[in-house]
């Protein structure tokens, strides 16, 4: 295995630098007006390397990564579909990159047209009345959604309503976001078929209910069949319905959250609308609302007046929950989502839902045929499904995590394993619509091969991965002996 890439500080030499990138020196006299007591005494200890050294270092680091451009990522709940290069290229046109956020709207009509049309398309495809683009991530959108629900009840004087109902299978951000809005979380169970337990829901709603947060299809990969009934129960009790858009890919173009009765939704533009994951961000969590919550949308929002576009302000929306971003959110991400939606068009939206579902059901069928256990074998897969490896854990001591690590050796990123908490030893698998049948077949072949290994040489699977830049890492040591910033060897 190649020698590991050092930390950049270890390549540093005093006096090196990409000096042609630097501006000319400024005479010290020009800085004399800066009070000495506010000046830095010594230069910050940043690495000093030349341009080629830096380029080589970071290029080599990139080569240690898996990425959609290089690997299949069947990550449930993440929608790792192809990020079209066109979206990047046209979002990075110099005029878009160079525009200051506080530049006058009169000289940003091109950009604003894209933002306005994006709002309109998102409204249409989700069946909502209003859309705001400023939340900067899915969890941020969740926060905005719950904050709007709270604002709605507060304005109506209904101050008791502070409870948010969350199915126990929900993603961790749901209860965390609800708590950050000052709400109390109330969990309800999911039944054996993967649907919300409607009887438990009826018992849980009441005068304290602010709303319910749901994903549909659910985090278990199945469609909530009684959604209309759930909506009726919550609305009759005086609560509102929040839709977590993480699984929108399954129903894009086929079903609209607004039509299912949801009052507020967030969309993950970095999932459904293919903006890049970037190794952890930036995302964008646009929110959509029905008529009840329109007055509370976060600012800013683009409005059209005749042929011109302008920003709405606090004066236009006095009951807005306010500003969530220093400027208007992740504009560059929004441009990419816009371009993607224009490339798809109305028929393309529908094809996303159809082919994502086709790929998931095909992969489920092939894995079942290969002897794997589906968590909900009687249900159709949505765009994702769960395979449980609890039998393999019991019979061979090989866990879902072990399978996940061994898949890396076969050139596949592992499916989601840490979630949902309800199904032991689960693999939540989402192929997305951009993968070909060949890749899906290769994945099934790899899983079958690992199954054989689990039976015949389980240590090989338990010790995986073997061919990656590192083997399994000592998490306990990482947390006990915190090494979070680089220090030169001499220092402890």
């Amino acid at each position: 295995m190649a020698a590991r890439e050092k930390v950049i500080f270890e390549y540093s030499h005093a006096g090196r630098g990409a000096s042609d990138q630097w501006p000319q020196e400024t005479p010290p006299a020009v800085l004399a007006d800066l009070p000495v007591k506010l000046r830095r005494a010594s230069a910050p200890e940043l690495p000093e390397v030349g341009e080629l050294e830096a380029v080589r270092h970071f290029t080599r680091l990139s080569q240690l990564n898996f990425s959609i451009d290089t690997h299949f990522y069947p990550l449930g709940s993440c929608t790792m579909k192809y990020n079209p290069k066109a979206c990047n290229q046209y979002a990075m046109l110099p005029e878009f990159l160079g525009r200051h956020p506080l530049a006058p709207a009169s000289h940003g009509q091109g950009f604003l047209a894209c933002m306005y049309e994006l709002q309109e398309m998102l409204k249409e495809v989700t069946g909502m009345q209003g859309v705001a683009l400023s939340p900067m991530a899915g969890a941020h959108g969740e926060f905005a959604g719950v904050a709007m629900i709270r604002a709605y009840h507060r304005v109506r004087g209904d101050l008791r309503r502070t409870e948010i109902i969350v199915p126990e299978a929900a993603h961790g951000t749901n209860p965390a976001s609800a708590t950050m809005c000052g709400c109390v979380v109330r969990e309800i169970p999911v039944n054996a078929q993967g649907d919300v337990d409607v009887e438990a829901l009826k018992a849980a709603v009441g005068p304290d209910t602010a709303g319910i947060m749901l994903t549909n299809p659910s985090t278990l990969g199945v469609f909530e069949r009684r959604i209309e009934e759930v909506a009726r129960i919550v609305h009759e009790a005086g609560g509102l319905l929040y839709y977590d858009g993480a699984n929108l890919n399954a129903i894009l173009g086929k079903v609209r959250p607004g039509d299912m009765g949801f009052d507020v939704i967030h969309m993950n533009l970095h999932k459904t609308f293919s903006t890049p994951h970037g190794g952890g961000g930036p995302g964008a969590g646009a929110v959509g609302v029905g008529a009840r919550l329109m007055p509370y949308l976060p600012l800013p929002i683009v409005a059209r007046e005749g042929e011109r576009f302008r920003w709405l302000t606090q004066a236009d929306l006095p009951q807005s929950i306010g500003r969530l971003s220093a400027f208007m959110g992740n504009a560059g991400v929004l441009l990419r989502a816009y371009i993607y939606m224009r490339l798809l068009g109305r028929d393309g939206m529908r094809r996303v839902g159809e082919y994502a579902t086709l790929n998931a059901n095909y992969l489920l069928a092939q894995l079942k045929a290969a002897g794997f256990d589906a968590a909900y074998p009687e249900r159709r897969a949505s765009h994702e499904f769960i395979v449980t490896l609890k039998r393999q854990a019991r019979e061979h001591g090989v866990t879902a995590m072990d399978f996940a690590k061994r898949l890396l050796d076969y050139g596949f990123h592992a499916p989601t394993t840490y979630f949902p908490l309800l199904v032991p030893e689960c693999l939540l698998i989402e192929p997305t619509e951009t993968e070909s049948k060949d890749i899906l077949d290769a994945f099934v072949a790899a899983m079958s091969q690992i199954q054989k290994e689990a039976e015949q040489e389980p240590e090989r699977v338990k010790g995986a991965p073997h061919t990656m830049p590192v083997r399994r890492l000592d998490d306990v040591r990482a947390a006990r002996q915190l090494d979070l910033t680089w220090k030169p060897a001499a220092q402890p």
Partner: protein, 130 residues
């Protein structure tokens, strides 16, 4: 199968309680608890002098996969948090019943009124939890 010393008392949230000769009680988490958490990476204990209510979260035990609150089994005043755990959280994994988290002087009447499980009852409780 986790160990459950017979001479201690237990709570439903997996704390153990040991009465000390000076009238204070020593509190820790059970072997079952440390096992489900996995290798502990950090333990946060309350400061001496802190007054707690029964059932109040007053310590945190953290592993790589979970961070759990530890609850005061009875009302009282904290007389000490175990200083050893700041740099040796793994002591709780090695011997859960000697690596106490905190010592408490019970509020008047609190100990008498407390509803603890005996060792045998806690074992039954664990078996039922499955």
């Amino acid at each position: 199968m986790s160990t459950v010393p017979a001479d201690l008392k237990y709570t439903r949230s997996h704390e153990w309680v040991r009465a000390l000769p000076d009238g204070t009680v020593e509190i820790g988490i059970t072997d079952h608890a440390q096992h489900s958490l996995g290798d502990l990476v950090f333990v946060e204990v309350p400061d001496a002098g802190r007054v707690v209510k029964a059932g109040e979260a007053c310590a945190v035990v953290e592993s790589v996969k979970a961070a759990s609150d530890v609850y005061a089994p009875i009302a009282g005043e904290v007389t000490a948090g175990n200083p050893r755990l700041a740099h040796e959280p793994e002591a709780v994994n090695t011997d859960a019943y000697s690596a106490w988290l905190m010592r408490l002087r019970p509020a008047p009447g609190a100990l008498a009124a407390a509803e603890f499980m005996s060792g045998a009852d806690y074992e039954k409780f664990l078996a039922a939890e499955g």
